[in-house]
Assembly symmetry: C3
């Protein structure tokens, strides 16, 4: 099992998932309740267990900006301080639940998990396309009953597109084309690139771009351990020029595929996924197609990882894997995660 | 987890649950099969595992007053002695299942769990209203997937009525009004009282009594550890006189709320509940209302405790609770139960 | 729990279950994928876990006689050698999954489980009636969530027919009639016989043979540990002569009831069952009746053993069974299995 890396920022939710309904999520084994304050609309993140008898506050209700435990009414403000207990006036000094540092950025709600002072919000990796009106995004979140390390493995080795996602996003060229991998151990970033000069166009791109023939397809992964994964995808008809020296590339179709990989509990992970495009941005049909189609692709991964988790649980201890070139990125990610987990 | 207190009487069933159909219940981890003998109608309680291959006798059938194992036909009489085995005449001397001492009283079937001689039946706490024609009773039993200690906690701290059962039996005054607690350590009895002089009348009482305004509401709990819980409830319109010096109180509405808290297995408890009233005793509509309404209230507890059990199972070891005045009765009950569990 | 006896042949499937669809079965805890090669139709049995990331090959697809992993495309030939990996030309020398020795015989697919050289196929016990056109067979397979030892117990003590299968295959005489048991420790064979001279005819035989009165009913069990169980059943109307000195017995109705008892994983067993008859062999109605009726009988066992497994899991350690004469065969089987398990 991949150990949890504490003292890191993690994506807890999409911004629009958090409002005046209480939302409970478990992150790195810590149950947290989220809501948005009435005044400034700031996201509040509190430990999701009443100090009295451990009842989940996410099963409770808001009273203004305070949260009232649904069992015996212990009431907490946005800092986690208890402001009311039943049957007496005096509130015990220790009546307080933990509050979590939160940063909202790029339509994502990041939460700091760990005992150390939170790292500067500026260190949180960016996914600006998610909030940029020049891009149109479809997205979702699937909980998977699998070690988060299995999802990291999955995303860093896209050769599986050919087999697990054949007929959706995979074609033979993905598995056939060698990758190049670049690891920045210090910054905890893994980059995996695969540039296919002449590849079949899978339905995902054929239907969204309208391209009918073969394509040049570039996949450039950036994984910012532990949580954020970006797949920069560039598609052009075969023979179209590469980006200009100044980066000019307006004739290409760009897709940013974003994943946030948030460990929930042991053997459980939240799989946040988003597909952003810079073409046909107002075309509702393309939007609906990409949402439904990518959801199917994600569910293929979910099913495979749920299965793999069960399979691995039954493996005898000390079972062996065999790794090859395609695993270079995944192995680097594991190494970095092990280091971050300390 | 609350340890099991052995060498105690426990409620196994309502009298009318036991007849000529075999009934299997697990009490303090001991599987027991119950039935009623043809002749004197006495309740028989035997260990629910055939001595041969441990098949549950509750999945078997009666032949007169003997019970015939559904797997290979080993047959037991009401004392648990084996009287027939297949394929041979000789019955092994050790072929016998345990028989449990049983007492029927107040429409409850009590069973003695433990190796010691059973305590005198006279020590079993009484709930005479359950069998008294001057009272009308509605009742039920819900198995809960929770430590029985969580149900004891729940019932001894009624401030939760305001929050978990708001709009049913709870009003703000329940949580606001301080309690007085009296503990008889020797007799293993905890008494918790809350007298509200001027309180809103919750739907439970408004609809059953017809009172339209505010009420005086007395809640007097008697918990006879480990199993029997009585809540003596007295309701009158605000301003009505208290009971007379001779106890005369016929102008008040009395409700006896009875719980039997019977640990089944680890993390499982039988929640026997009954609501008895001394008013509108022949009013079918009130009877139906109270049955349906209190069942909803019980299910609110069941859902909360099922959830709490899961939550606590995931808590890191050594988690802390915070207790306040309202918990005085519950903490006393825990202390007594720990002592009884030895 | 009965330990697994390794280095033995086990029934993995019926011959016609294995074709060009991948079939995954777990035998003695080892996941195995089965398919039939295109050319010679030989059964291929490979370890069901890709060497790369342990994905189940049974969730993959065939490409000719190679199997292509559904996750990243690692491809194996019928010997288990890897012949393709994605993204590179060089195939690591250690890329190979285990292949299992297989024997097809009597419409059964036997697989050798263990590290030792497989025992000569000639040592595999025979069930020739299964493939003999002079017999008509109905059959099925039920997975049971129970220790395989519980199924061995069940089948070696047929006195349970009277109780668990009363009204189907059991009559009082089965439980009443003593058995004779013969144990060949060296050959690991247990024989249990019960000859009833004058017995009621249960519906199973009344409806299939047309006999209306009482019968002589012989049950001769041969259990070839660990996997194959044969029940030779002979039925004639009461008073009909026994087999002639030369074995001539054409006036009797013979039924061969075959079980293969294949441990799957801990607490899981495959229950292969077949009923073969030498009478009314072309009568479709009898065939349909016996298939449906025996399936019900098998499901009575399945339900009982699923229940028993749960019951035993909750028994305190060191619980005691009581064994009597009817258990002689079952106890001998346990002893042999313990020896085979080493």
């Amino acid at each position: 099992m991949a150990a949890f890396a504490k003292n890191q920022w993690y994506v807890a939710a999409y911004s629009d998932e958090i409002g005046r309904e209480l939302l409970g999520r478990t992150i790195l084994g810590e149950p947290i309740v989220f809501y948005r304050a009435e005044g400034d609309g700031a996201v509040v993140a509190l430990a999701d267990r009443c100090v009295h008898r451990r009842f989940p506050l996410s099963e409770s209700r808001l009273d203004g900006d305070t949260i009232v435990c649904g069992y015996h009414g212990f009431t907490y403000d946005t800092t986690g301080a208890c402001v009311y207990v039943p049957g007496q006036k005096r509130i015990p000094r220790t009546a307080r639940v933990g509050a979590y540092p939160v940063v909202e950025q790029d339509t994502l709600v990041w939460v700091w998990i760990g005992d150390a002072e939170p790292a500067d919000a500026k260190t949180i990796p960016r996914a600006p396309h998610l909030g940029d009106p020049a891009w149109t995004t479809v997205r979702g979140m699937e909980p998977i009953d699998a070690d988060y390390g299995l999802l990291v493995d999955n995303l860093l080795d896209l050769s599986h597109e050919t087999y697990l996602h054949g007929g959706y996003i995979g074609t033979p060229e993905v598995a056939e084309t060698p990758i190049s991998t670049e690891v920045d151990e210090g910054a905890a970033i893994v980059r995996v690139s695969r540039h296919m000069d002449d590849a079949a166009c899978p339905p995902f791109y054929a239907k969204s771009t309208g391209i009918e023939g073969r394509i040049s397809r570039w996949q450039d992964i950036e994984y910012f351990a532990p949580c954020l994964y970006l797949l920069h995808s560039r598609i052009v008809p075969v023979g179209a020029p590469p980006p200009g020296p100044d980066g000019e590339d307006s004739h290409a179709f760009h897709t940013e595929i974003t994943y946030a990989i948030t460990p929930s509990a042991e053997g459980k992970v939240y799989d946040f996924w988003a597909v952003s495009r810079d073409f046909a941005v107002d075309d509702e049909e393309v939007t609906e197609f990409l949402h439904a189609f990518n959801h199917k692709v994600v569910m293929q991964d979910v099913d495979a990882l749920n299965l793999l988790q069960k399979v691995l649980a039954d493996e005898p201890e000390g079972y062996q894997e065999l790794s090859i070139n395609i695993d270079t990125g995944g192995l680097a990610a594991r190494r970095i995660l092990a280091r971050l987990a300390g």
